[in-house]
């Protein structure tokens, strides 16, 4: 557990049942669901294959046996239906946690998310709310081709009334997911599936690492939460600020270590609401900013970050803001590693930012 995380957890954890245990990100997510289902009878879990089988990534394993079919159940293969039903359940008073099996499959649910869940509180002036947390694995690096690799977060950060959360460690995944479930606003919880089983340094040709022994894989078994809208300073540094989230946090950590760059790394954790204070303070300190995400570039969340930094830190900037992103192409299957914004692209961008 990082120092920042410990500090945050200390505020809200029930220390009595917070003994840490080694968990990968799947286990941490499963634990968050377990903790919340035990605490709150209104929490229900549904989605394709999440029931008896426990999900294609096993994130809901064991929950149906423990909490019953009325609270954990498989659904028909219609994402529109899954989210529409979750809106109705929320109106009834439940707190649904639907799973969309891959973020690439979320588009049939777009109208129910954008026009319904995200606007329900506003349009009914608070008579009805949609307190749902939509879990969905996202991102590439697993040879998933164009339909199992996308990072659609920028589509949702553009929508008013919806929160977007992306964890980068098992510890954060659990604490953020609990906070998202307790939150009364609809929240998208995108899980970086490349790092479900271990952090990824960006070198696809090296042996995969597991979370074993990683400080942020020590996860309390009980209840704790990490507030939405608070970024995590992964590493303090003076040369430049790197804004990133999800899988890219680990790629960045490894790349700057290899390059010997004293970067300050900010893991955003929540894109909406954004921790603008952390971003502003860091960029004003370093005077240089690199934004890294796996999603396509044009109109991506990096564009928003770039605009925010420019508006707030212009007079502190010593170099143009750079973005390292996926290319504006579909995610190619065999050329995955040419597409992925890995160490080479990040190093090039840092060189550009640091050259003067």
């Amino acid at each position: 557990m990082s120092e920042v995380a410990k500090e945050v957890a200390g505020d809200v954890a029930d220390e009595a049942d917070s003994a840490p245990k080694q968990m990968n990100m799947i286990q941490a997510i499963n634990s968050a669901l377990d903790v919340m289902m035990a605490r709150d009878p209104d929490v229900i879990v549904m989605g394709e294959d999440v029931g008896f089988f426990g999900g294609v990534f096993r994130a809901t394993a064991g929950l149906q046996a423990k909490y019953g079919k009325n609270r954990v159940f498989d659904t028909p293969i219609t994402e529109c239906g899954i989210i529409g039903v979750a809106v109705g359940m929320g109106a009834y008073g439940l707190r649904p946690v639907p799973e969309i099996q891959f973020a690439d499959y979320i588009y049939p649910a777009l109208d129910q998310l954008v026009s319904e869940a995200a606007r329900l509180r506003y349009r009914s002036a608070g008579e009805f709310i949609a307190p749902m947390t939509v879990r969905s694995p996202f991102g590439g690096g697993i040879f998933g081709g164009q339909t199992h690799s996308q990072s659609p977060e920028g589509i949702f950060t553009h929508v008013s009334g919806m929160k977007t959360v992306i964890p980068s460690t098992p510890y954060d995944a659990k604490g953020l997911l609990i906070a998202a479930i307790e939150d009364n606003d609809p929240t998208l919880f995108f899980e970086p599936k490349r790092i479900y089983n271990g952090p990824f340094d960006g070198h696809y040709d090296r042996p995969a690492k597991s979370w074993a022994g990683h400080a942020d894989a020590q996860v309390p078994e009980g209840y704790y939460k990490i507030p939405l809208g608070k970024a995590r300073t992964v590493r303090e540094g003076g040369a430049l600020t790197i804004l990133c989230y999800g899988t890219m946090v680990h790629v960045v950590v490894n790349t700057i270590a290899d390059a010997g760059v004293d970067a300050e790394i900010i893991d955003l954790r929540t894109l909406v609401p954004l921790d603008i204070e952390a971003i502003e303070a860091s960029v004003k300190k370093t005077g240089r900013c690199l934004i890294v995400h796996e999603a396509t570039r044009t109109g991506g969340f990096g564009a928003e970050l770039s605009a925010q930094v420019q508006e707030r830190c212009f007079h502190h900037l010593e170099a143009p803001i750079e973005r390292v992103t996926g290319f504006d192409t579909p995610y190619p299957h065999s050329l995955e590693w040419a597409y992925f914004p890995g160490p080479i692209r990040i190093r090039e961008a840092m060189t550009k930012i640091l050259k003067d």
Binding site: G84, G88, M89, A91
Partner: protein, 428 residues
């Protein structure tokens, strides 16, 4: 010019050319409407299955037409709900009030007091009789033409008008297009405006009620046109899979703005028949017959309450007026369709029935219409005291930023401050 990829029949294969069928309604402006070819079964012809009958044993119901009131206004057949006089008269009054309300609000829009209105003329029975057959705490997920639900549940018409005027008493704080009500207290879900999104939501509400061992059921409405939306089919699948205690109503009023029901598939089959493919009970009923609507809704409610599953009800009716105040149906359909509609007018038919029973007469009806006209006029005056659309800002502009989230995040607080600064700079 960009290269085109469609393949032509350059090879000239020796086969007859394919042709595309684009539906065309029977009558267009200038045509005389003639519905004499309509197959209208006798009022007492439809069998009434047991509420718990297997959907597979009642598929014929999806192709028939449940009716109660015959051509003489007599209640006949298996579906006659045998309602007591006070219920009949309450139903008649709620339908008449709905029509009077529509008249007044349509006029208010034409007078520039609001931006938009939608009447339900000819479809009053669909909502009013359904509301009376449901329990007061059953949850309704309406589309935009079921104002009769609120009126039948005795919701304040001044409150509805406040919403239409987007005035300072509008509980929706001026955020929604007129008639997109939300009345939690009356079991009336917030109307979206996006079509048929309420269908899976109603199923979800019903599933939650069932999962909790509650006794309340859900009901939802959409037009025949929007049965084409994916949400409709998602909802039917979910309702079937989980046997959700929900009533799904398709109000087949023949027209979706200018597109006749053929563009939703009516040339090929009925809308009630959608239920057959999903293994759901399907009823096709005369939507202009308040007693048939009441009887079918009660049948479906009893079915849902006994865990026998959902029902899809097609209400066969006719949209007498334009789609909305922004629509001119004279541009695309025959002007006399409404007056030739073979299933008549729902209010006139229930009135005739009540007169036939000796519990009502023309004088009382005329007096009631006059009373209701005065009532809505007075209500409108009352509502107008709270303001009408476009005459000043009825809500503090800060409220624009509220309720986006439960707590206003920094970026909205910042934008609110920007708006305050802009006004200050402009001297407002």
């Amino acid at each position: 010019m960009a290269e085109r990829h469609h393949s032509g029949n350059e090879a000239g294969r020796n086969l007859p050319p394919l042709s595309l069928h684009v539906p065309e309604p029977h009558f267009r402006p200038g045509d005389e409407a003639d519905f004499s070819t309509f197959d209208i079964p006798a009022a007492d012809a439809a069998p009434r299955p047991d509420e718990t009958a297997a959907a597979s044993d009642m598929r014929d119901m999806a192709y028939g037409l449940v009716r109660v009131l015959d051509e003489d206004g007599q209640a006949v057949g298996n579906w006659n709900p045998n309602l007591p006089p006070e219920t009949l008269l309450r139903m008649l009054r709620a339908m008449a009030l709905t029509r009077a309300f529509d008249e007044r609000m349509f006029r208010a829009q034409r007078q520039g007091k609001t931006s938009f209105y939608m009447k339900c003329t000819g479809e009053e029975a669909v909502a009013v009789a359904a509301a009376m057959a449901l329990d007061r705490d059953d949850m309704c997920f309406p589309s935009y033409r079921q104002q009769g639900l609120l009126i039948a549940r005795d919701w304040s018409i001044v409150d509805m008008m406040n919403q239409i005027y987007s005035n300072k008493a509008d509980r929706m704080r001026g955020r929604q297009l007129p008639i997109m009500y939300s009345v939690r207290e009356a079991g009336f879900f917030s109307i979206s405006g996006n079509l048929t999104t309420q269908y899976p939501q109603a199923v979800g509400w019903a599933m939650a009620s069932a999962a909790r061992g509650d006794t309340r059921i859900a009901a939802t409405w959409c037009g025949e046109g929007s049965t084409a939306e994916g949400d409709f089919h998602s909802a039917c699948t979910f309702a079937s899979v989980y046997r959700a205690p929900v009533i799904m109503n398709v109000v087949n009023n023949q027209w979706a703005i200018s597109s006749f029901s053929g563009f939703a598939g009516a040339e090929a089959t009925t809308f009630a028949a959608r239920a057959v493919g999903y293994g759901i009970a399907g009823l096709r009923i005369d939507g202009n017959d308040a007693l048939a609507v009441y009887a079918a809704t009660r049948w479906a409610a009893d079915r849902a309450r006994s865990n026998a599953g959902p029902t899809l009800i097609e209400h066969f009716t006719y949209r007498v007026e334009g789609h909305s105040t922004s629509d001119d149906p004279g541009q695309y359909r025959s002007a006399d369709e409404g007056s030739h509609w073979p299933l008549g007018d729902p209010i006139a038919r229930l009135k005739q029935h009540c007169i036939g029973l000796g519990i009502w007469d023309e004088e009382r009806h005329t007096a009631m219409d006059a009373e209701l006209a005065t009532m809505v006029k007075d209500a409108a005056r009352e509502a107008e005291k709270n303001g009408i659309l476009g005459h000043g800002m009825h809500q503090p502009f800060e409220t624009m930023f509220e309720d986006v989230f439960e707590e206003m995040p920094w970026h909205l607080r910042e934008q609110l401050q920007q708006a305050i600064d802009e006004k200050k700079a402009a001297g407002i």
